[in-house]
């Protein structure tokens, strides 16, 4: 063979080994370390402990091997059909002349495997207390500035803006655009959370995206993202994916909405409702205030119109009746303000005069006291010959009791007299 030609067709003739060496050099230099996604087929684990398999997708396949030392440390079992990502060196297996991947790392990629890994992380973070209800912050009642962390191009941002403005047209919405899936998404979400989580920037943070596969939502299951959500000082409303999707970031958020639209509904009150509530409060306050005034005024007007004031000798008896009537009405709970009027009459006569609706004395009402200054409330408290002092609006007079007569005061009579009269305040005082 020594006389074999060195060249053929102008090309240097190689041995097969030389060819494979060239291809190996080319593969290792030009292709080098790769991460490849595919499905396992033809898995073989001979006695050597090395693991051999074919990595395939729909149209192509490549051989792969993982040496025993690494294969033994894999945290999950390889099996045919499992979707994985292989990280390794491309090289050539000379004896067969086929190229292969020498795997240094294999991670599961299939939904089942992802779910298992996710479940493990969920358990760990839950055990740490990251999802505890006690950590949840209440949403502000009226957040006028809202940070929206989502993709600037997706439907979510539009759903949120449209819904929020329809409810409350005068909001400050601050969009922090991020990639919500793919490489770099977790880092961008974490960065946006850090920027938005500032009371100078917003009152509440909405974090979300539209629906997608478990893999599409995976950025929201990245441990660092989940921790960033939990660490926010401002309340976070999450709306990641559809109703059925729950990511770990959803669990770490203070409130979880099922969709971006619902997140806006939960965060933003309806302006018209607030205005209505305010108007209702105002109307209730006005009604209550005018009822109070009327109650006081009509109690006193009623009193002033009583015959006792026209027939001085009956004054004391009627005063007593008045007191009893008042007591009965108090028991009925009809005249809580009346009690105040009564107490004021009893104890604060001078103060009464300074309160306009309670200027009782100028209405003709008087207060009668015994010589010790004690207000007389009963006909039984005086006897003929007793000296009493009557206080009018503009002064006093001293009087002597000529007769006193006790009158049976039916509670019904008193109540009828008060309630049956037109302009009585009994009905007005009842409230729902």
């Amino acid at each position: 063979m020594s006389d074999a030609p060195e060249q053929a067709f102008g090309l240097r003739i190689l041995t097969v080994s030389q060819l494979n060496e060239r291809v190996r050099a080319c593969l290792e230099e030009r292709v080098g370390t790769v991460a490849v996604a595919g499905e396992i087929a033809d898995l073989a684990r001979p006695k050597s402990g090395h693991v051999y398999f074919t990595l395939c997708d729909a149209r192509a396949q490549v051989r792969a091997v993982m040496w025993r030392g690494l294969a033994e440390r894999l945290p999950f079992a390889l099996r045919d059909g499992l979707k994985i990502i292989v990280v390794g060196e491309t090289t050539i297996y000379g004896p067969r002349g086929s190229y292969q991947i020498v795997a240094v790392e294999i991670v599961p990629r299939g939904v089942g495997e992802l779910k298992r890994a996710l479940e493990e992380l969920r358990r760990r973070l839950r055990a740490e207390g990251l999802f505890d209800p006690s950590r949840k912050k209440a949403l502000p009642f009226l957040p006028l500035r809202i940070a929206v962390i989502t993709s600037a191009t997706g439907a979510a941002v539009h759903d949120i803006i449209r819904t929020a403005l329809a409810r409350f047209p005068a909001l400050t919405l601050r969009v922090l655009p991020v990639r919500v899936q793919g490489a770099g998404a977790p880092e961008e979400i974490i960065g946006a959370l850090a920027r938005a989580d500032d009371p100078a920037v917003c009152d509440v943070i909405l974090l979300g995206r539209g629906g997608g596969s478990l893999e599409d939502l995976s950025a929201f299951n990245v441990e660092a993202v989940v921790r960033a959500v939990a660490a926010c000082r401002l309340p976070v409303v999450s709306c990641i994916g559809h109703e059925t999707d729950t990511t770990l970031s959803d669990l770490a958020a203070d409130v979880r909405a099922s969709t971006p639209t619902q997140a806006a509904e939960m965060a933003v009150p309806v302006l018209e409702d607030l205005l209505e509530r305010l108007a209702a409060h105002r109307a209730r306050a006005a009604r209550a205030a005018s009822a109070l005034r009327e109650t006081c005024a009509s109690d006193l007007a009623l009193l002033a119109a009583r015959p006792a004031l026209a027939e001085p000798e009956r004054r004391l008896e009627d005063l007593g009746q008045y007191v009893d009537e008042f007591a009965a009405r108090l028991e009925d709970g009809l005249c809580r303000v009346g009690q105040k009027v009564y107490n004021s009459l009893d104890l604060h006569v001078s103060r009464l005069r300074s309160v306009n609706p309670l200027a009782t004395l100028s209405r003709g009402f008087t207060v009668t006291r015994d010589r010790a200054g004690k207000v007389l409330r009963s006909a039984r408290a005086v006897a003929p010959g007793d000296r009493v002092e009557i206080r009018f609006a503009d002064g006093f007079c001293e009087a002597e009791v000529r007769a006193s007569r006790e009158e049976k005061l039916g509670a019904g009579k008193g109540a009828d007299a008060l309630q049956g009269r037109p302009g009585s305040t009994g009905g007005r005082r009842r409230r729902p």
Binding site: P140, F141, L142, L144, A152, T153, V157, H158, I161, R162, L165, F168, P169, A170, L171, T172, L173, R174, V175, L176, P177, A192, R195, V201, L271, L274, L275, R277, L278, H281, R282, R284, A285, A286, A288, A289, A291, L292, R293, T295, C296, R336, V337, K340, V355, P357, L358, R429, R431
Partner: protein, 84 residues
């Protein structure tokens, strides 16, 4: 004053008025407080402004915002067309 605090206070004041179990002077001052709260809360609502912004960058630690560009036409309305 936060809106919710004011609203809670207003609710309490109205409750006091409606129960009617206070001195008349107190009731009158409660009424006045209620009206003050009502005006203040309206001011908060009316003072809110519509802005839709997008993070444009950071300068010396401060966030820079620009007008959000991604809105479809139907979300675009004049800023104070719907403010109360």
């Amino acid at each position: 004053m936060r809106f919710k605090e004011g609203l809670d206070r207003l609710e309490a004041v109205v409750g006091v008025l409606e129960r009617g179990d206070c001195e008349l002077e107190d009731a009158l001052s409660a009424y006045e407080e209620g009206v003050r709260l009502y005006r203040r809360l309206l001011e908060i609502l009316a003072g809110a402004e519509r802005r839709i912004e997008e993070l444009a960058g950071e300068k010396e630690g401060a966030l820079l915002w620009k007008r959000f560009q991604g809105l479809r036409a139907r979300e675009e309305t004049t800023p104070d067309a719907e403010t109360p």
